[in-house]
Subunit: 236 residues, 2 copies
């Protein structure tokens, strides 16, 4: 049985945002190729979550590209810098976070573009949202449009066959609470996702710290949506 | 003793083109950070050549980013596809070569951009040239300009401090013979460079095959420049 759906490459980190973006792509009728990165981050359990999310949401394939950005440095997600804890919600999202990986989305979208070309896909989905683009320059709408313009001239498909690549960011205008609600509507099982920057060992597994910026934003989103977060926390 | 020169990130593959581009950057007064990629290619000896070239040409640092593009596939340089041999010069450079790695330069420049941001550099040098852009879409001038536009909105430096990134491609209009001549003028030791896609074991080391597209183009460049290529070949 061949799959006549158009293909899309979907960036899947293992977190809740990209899970909802993947669910949006599936709901729009795309056959989704999930793409994750093993980029020397300290929390490789994200990759296990990405695999679970891709399978649960019916992706036709899941590719993991190994890229070691430690040689580039400059971020607490890849280098040995402390993860900020217990910051106020007012402080989170002001300025560029310590967890900023320079040019990360540019790098990830470039690899997605290469995979899209190989797979015959013209659509790429990324879960960036309003919260991200308050702090990360490479999450803003103007960045996404500039990347589409680049993609048109960077590839054989674009250059020879005049095909456009579309970068979809279906969560771009959404708050975390919006994302929780949209995920519920699309039957995303948030229990499969992993968000914490600094998980704590408990028994054979780990639980989310509840205190890093990522945990705080996630918990606030669930609270505002009037939902209970199904993942376990040390404190919250 | 501090180095007051502006910094530049220079993509150095180990081949002759990027060696000459690095020499150009140094000649222009930049303190150069060489950047190479270990991307699952079959010819890792390129990396040893890149290290020799970076050291010989006075780069202040040499970073190697590991990126495994085999999950992306689609090229004889990363996947298990035969390297073309003994093609006519007329056939080489027509259409997109089998050695095309989808979106490769987009990926490499994205990582260079991240490193430039961390290092406080606003200039990136890449050794693409006229021969490349007959076949590879991501070597053309319009691609390089689109990448500069992307870089302006993709980074903290560009977005907050309105700084431009410049992508320098000093060999863009040059033939291989021009590159040989320019390298000689800049005292580049071509014996340090490695070009062959399919080197042959001889004794403890390897020699260039002389028959793959890359060897043929290199040898033609030296012949047209009236120079002798200092690297050893099986046949030519």
């Amino acid at each position: 049985m061949s799959d006549s759906r158009p293909r899309a490459v979907c960036l899947v980190s293992g977190g809740m945002d990209s899970a909802v973006a993947l669910a949006e792509a599936s709901a729009k009728g795309f056959a989704c190729i999930a793409l994750s990165f093993d980029y020397g981050q300290r929390h490789r359990r994200e990759l296990a979550a990405a695999e679970r999310v891709a399978r649960a949401l019916g992706a036709i394939d899941h590719k993991v590209v190994v890229i070691d950005l430690r040689a580039v440095g400059g971020s607490s997600l890849t280098a040995d810098i402390a993860v900020p804890k217990d910051r106020s919600h007012a402080a989170i999202g002001v300025g560029v976070p310590a967890t900023y990986v320079p040019a990360r989305n540019t790098i990830f979208l470039s690899i997605a573009l290469g995979l899209a070309e190989v797979a015959g896909a013209q659509d790429v989905f990324i879960g960036v949202n309003a919260l991200d683009y308050s702090g990360y320059p490479d999450c803003r709408p103007e960045f996404l449009r500039a990347f589409e313009a680049l993609a048109r001239v960077a590839t054989v498909a674009g250059a020879e066959r005049h095909e456009g690549f579309r970068i979809h960011a279906p969560l771009l205008e959404m708050s975390k609470a919006d994302i929780v609600r949209r995920g519920r509507a699309l039957d995303v099982d948030f229990a499969l996702t992993h968000t914490c920057y600094d998980p704590v060992t408990r028994g054979a597994g780990t639980v989310a710290c509840g205190r890093c910026d990522a945990c705080q934003l996630r918990l606030k989103g669930f609270a505002e949506a009037g939902e209970r977060d199904p993942v376990p926390y040390v404190v919250h």
